[in-house]
């Protein structure tokens, strides 16, 4: 049998002898590892504005009336792991882990277990629960009778939601795995929608990789604020986990002093790469390029090159390996070979024979719009970025090139008022 929280708040609590003890203020549930939370106490306002916590063991029924099993309830002692349903969950925004979106909790359903204890079943987020709380249930029933349809309700099982709140991260360990599984772009949307402290609480639940991906997906102007809200050491870890070009963009938007602080906390190698990227103007090829690309020496055979790739830690890091970059010992770009060329070629052929010897390149200082032109003109997936001596410094992938030309989506610009 299910009870709704909205039907309990303000209800009279009767003791065993049917005397009114007070009014129900809140319902406390206890979070348990790998099990549905169980109701552990009722907060009751007794006569004289005195508040007391009645242990759930002494509650006989919640519906149709709240009746206790005793006439002298003992005091429940909070352990600190309780969730106050009205205070912390009802009417708040909560992450729907299935739908990957934020929903607002209109009501909470409690379910009576065989032994008489109540479990936290699901949260109601639909229109019918909204109408019920506004006292418009009858209107909804009328709709059913007159036009044959009514506002539907939607329940999400408690196991499929994550309540994110700063200062009360009780629910967090349970939902971390499920949160982690949500696409970074969706997480970013949720973080943007939440108020800042809750958004940061959500980010803090994720591991460095997931947090880095999410922050990279968040709008540029919001990123510095989110980073600043994380503890400095954690922020540095997240920066390390980001793609170097994204990390550099983010750092470039910070105050000089903050930038130095984060970079000094970062791993030296990562911070050196990012530092190099930061030296280029933001709208140049150097500013938008990534330093994660794959190189092979020119004198290898195709078979040796494949082995080289599988064992190279650098290639392992590289998320988009469309091309191999053939460089000499001092880093000069000799040519590029697509992965297709490599796979289709005779294993004994030399890389220098199958590579494109005079690939299209851009200079580190080329304007990003010109980079996009080049990528579009030659239908490239990426373009190598070289300096005046022909030394390879990075690549601009097609997605970053596009980002540069399509101005941060005109549609997201909304009308202003003040």
């Amino acid at each position: 049998m299910a009870v709704h929280l909205s039907q309990l708040i303000g209800k009279t609590v009767y003791d065993e002898r049917n005397r009114a003890l007070g009014r129900c203020l809140d319902v406390l549930v206890e979070e348990r590892s790998h099990a549905t939370p169980i109701v552990c106490a009722l907060a009751v306002r007794a006569s004289g504005a005195q508040e007391l916590l009645v242990p759930a063991q002494q509650v006989a029924w919640l519906a149709p009336a709240i009746i206790l099993t005793t006439d002298a309830p003992s005091e429940y002692l909070p352990r600190g792991n309780e969730l106050w349903l009205r205070k912390n969950v009802l009417d708040r925004q909560i992450v729907d882990l299935e739908g990957h979106q934020l929903v607002r909790v209109n009501d909470i359903q409690l379910i009576r277990r065989g032994d008489g204890r109540y479990l936290l079943g699901s949260v109601a987020v639909g229109g019918a629960s909204l109408m019920r709380r506004l006292g418009l249930e009858k209107l909804n029933d009328l709709g059913q009778r007159v036009i044959g349809s009514k506002v539907p309700d939607r329940y999400i099982p408690w196991t499929e939601v994550a309540a994110v709140q700063p200062n009360a991260p009780i629910r967090l360990r349970v939902s971390r795995e499920k949160l982690q599984a949500i696409n970074a772009a969706d997480i970013a949307d949720i973080v943007e929608e939440l108020d800042r402290p809750s958004g940061v609480a959500l980010l803090e639940m994720l591991d460095d990789e997931a947090a880095a991906d999410a922050i990279s997906e968040v709008e540029d102007e919001l990123q510095p604020a989110l980073l600043a809200a994380l503890p400095a050491a954690r922020a540095a870890d997240v920066l390390e986990a980001m793609d170097p070009d994204d990390a550099a963009d983010l750092l470039a938007a910070l105050e000089e002093e903050d930038r130095q602080d984060y970079m000094s906390l970062m791993d030296t190698e990562e911070s050196a790469i990012v530092g190099k990227l930061l030296a280029y103007p933001v709208d140049s090829a150097g500013g938008i390029m990534t330093t994660e690309y794959t190189t092979v020496p020119a004198d290898l055979t195709v078979a040796e090159a494949l082995v080289h790739l599988r064992t190279s830690p650098q290639a392992r890091e590289d998320e988009t390996m469309y091309y191999l970059h053939v460089v000499d010992v001092s880093g000069h770009l000799q040519g590029v070979a697509s992965l297709r060329d490599l796979v289709m070629a005779d294993p004994d052929a030399r890389i220098s024979e199958i590579m494109e010897g005079s690939p299209v390149t851009v200079d580190v200082l080329t304007n990003q719009l010109d980079v996009a032109q080049v990528v579009a003109k030659y239908n490239l997936l990426e373009v190598p970025v070289v300096d005046q001596e022909g030394v390879l410094h990075g690549i601009v992938t097609v997605d970053d090139a596009i980002d540069a030309v399509i101005p941060t989506a005109w549609k997201k610009r909304l009308p202003r008022f003040f």
């Binding site: 607002r104 987020v125 709380r133 108020d195 800042r196 997201k412 610009r413 909304l414 009308p415 008022f417």
Partner: protein
């Protein structure tokens, strides 16, 4: 491509953009132009032409009220990182929230209708029928906003709507008696007539509104809970309100000096434009008409959308211009509804516009005391505000404001 999914994000965009313009045009002018939209200019022009300088002291005190309310909203936004409506729903539950949102929608519906009335008035200055101008404007607003091409015309509208600054020049050129103006601005002199009370309430209604507080808190909240640097924000709020009201005062001074002295009470756009004659000469009507239409279109684009965001967000409904119409029926329905109803009201001859404006005024004046009390409860809550709770003087001023607005409303209902 990501689109904003949240009311406060829409606001943040605005705020950021405003900062960019601010670096060119100065922050005071931004706020001034927002305060002085179509209903604002109409209200000040009417008040100035009817009561002359004797209305100025009201502006002084309204500025104090505006600063106190807006500072409180900004402070709550900075401390909690949440919007006012969010806080209300979390602290006071659904019913009160629903009631307040209903009031906000009604009030903003009236204000949106007033913007379209502004479009109608300025179109007719140029001899274009309102039955052509208003539907075209409404369709343009809807399409520009939902298709996102609004951005392209926004800058033009913004610059044009700065025309209210011309009132300052106009007032100075008339060479009014400044000592008399100073005396009238500083010495309160209350008049007890229905017209006067109506004018006072209308002035409060365009300056201190629940909506302005909601908007302010969302703007600040979205910049992030950065209470350490609240000093800057506070200064911004105060100077913005002050400068906005300086422009309002100059509208009153110039209308008083050009119209009140001749016993002309503003009833039409042609008459209102006369107040700009000292600075614009024969071009006064054009300056007034173009400026008014720009200010009206600007507000008519933003207000319905921001209202829709606020309602959908607090009720937990799907929202955002990136959602499909079928997925967010409430969002698109409410947005289109606000525009369609306010357009119709302006076009149907006779009663409806007046009725809606009146309803909107009632909604505002009923809502304002309630929202002020709710804000006081929130801003004094130790759990929510910590060390940033209201000081006693803020509580007193806000309570006095709430009582005065209630008293003025009651007096008006009594008399009317």
């Amino acid at each position: 491509m990501k689109l904003p999914t949240r009311f406060s994000r829409a606001v943040r965009r605005g705020a950021q953009r405003a900062m960019i313009y601010a670096s060119i045009l100065g922050p005071g002018l931004i706020t001034a132009s927002a305060d002085n939209d179509a209903p604002g200019i109409a209200t000040y022009s009417m008040a100035g032409s009817r009561f002359g300088y004797s209305f100025l002291w009201i502006i002084v005190w309204i500025t104090l009220g505006e600063v106190v309310v807006q500072e409180m909203a900004a402070r709550m936004g900075a401390v909690t990182g949440k919007g006012l409506t969010d806080l209300i729903r979390e602290r006071f539950g659904l019913r009160l929230t629903f009631f307040i949102m209903l009031g906000l929608v009604l009030a903003n519906l009236g204000t949106t209708a007033a913007q379209f009335a502004g479009v109608a008035a300025s179109a007719e200055l140029f001899g274009v029928s309102r039955y052509i101008a208003v539907p075209v404007a409404a369709a343009a607003v809807y399409l520009l906003v939902t298709r996102g091409s609004y951005r392209n015309v926004e800058k033009v509208l913004l610059v044009l709507s700065m025309f209210s600054v011309a009132y300052i020049a106009s007032a100075i050129l008339v060479k009014p008696d400044w000592s008399e103006i100073a005396r009238q601005a500083l010495v309160p002199r209350l008049q007890f007539s229905t017209d006067y009370l109506l004018a006072v309430l209308a002035t409060v209604g365009t300056t201190i509104t629940p909506w302005a507080a909601v908007y302010m808190q969302a703007t600040v909240a979205d910049k992030g809970a950065d209470i350490e640097h609240f000093g800057h924000t506070r200064l911004d709020v105060i100077s913005g309100a002050a400068l906005g009201n300086v422009v309002s005062a100059f509208i009153i001074i110039s209308t008083a000096a050009t119209l009140f002295v001749r016993g002309i009470t503003v009833e039409s756009a042609e008459q209102a434009a006369v107040a700009l004659a000292p600075v614009a000469g024969q071009w006064a009507e054009i300056l007034f008409g173009v400026g008014l239409i720009a200010a009206s279109l600007l507000a008519a684009s933003v207000l319905p959308l921001a209202t829709t965001y606020a309602v959908c967000e607090v009720m937990g409904w799907a929202r955002g211009l990136n959602t499909r119409r079928a997925d967010a029926p409430a969002f698109y329905g409410l947005f289109a509804g606000l525009i369609v109803i306010s357009t119709l009201v302006v076009l149907i001859p006779g009663l409806p516009l007046f009725l809606l404006m009146w309803l909107s005024q009632v909604a505002n004046s009923l809502l304002l005391p309630i929202v002020l009390v709710v804000m006081l409860l929130l801003a004094n809550d130790q759990l929510i505000m910590g060390n940033w709770r209201n000081r006693r003087i803020i509580n007193i001023i806000t309570l006095v404001l709430a009582v005065l607005v209630t008293a003025a409303s009651l007096a008006l209902f009594w008399a009317g």
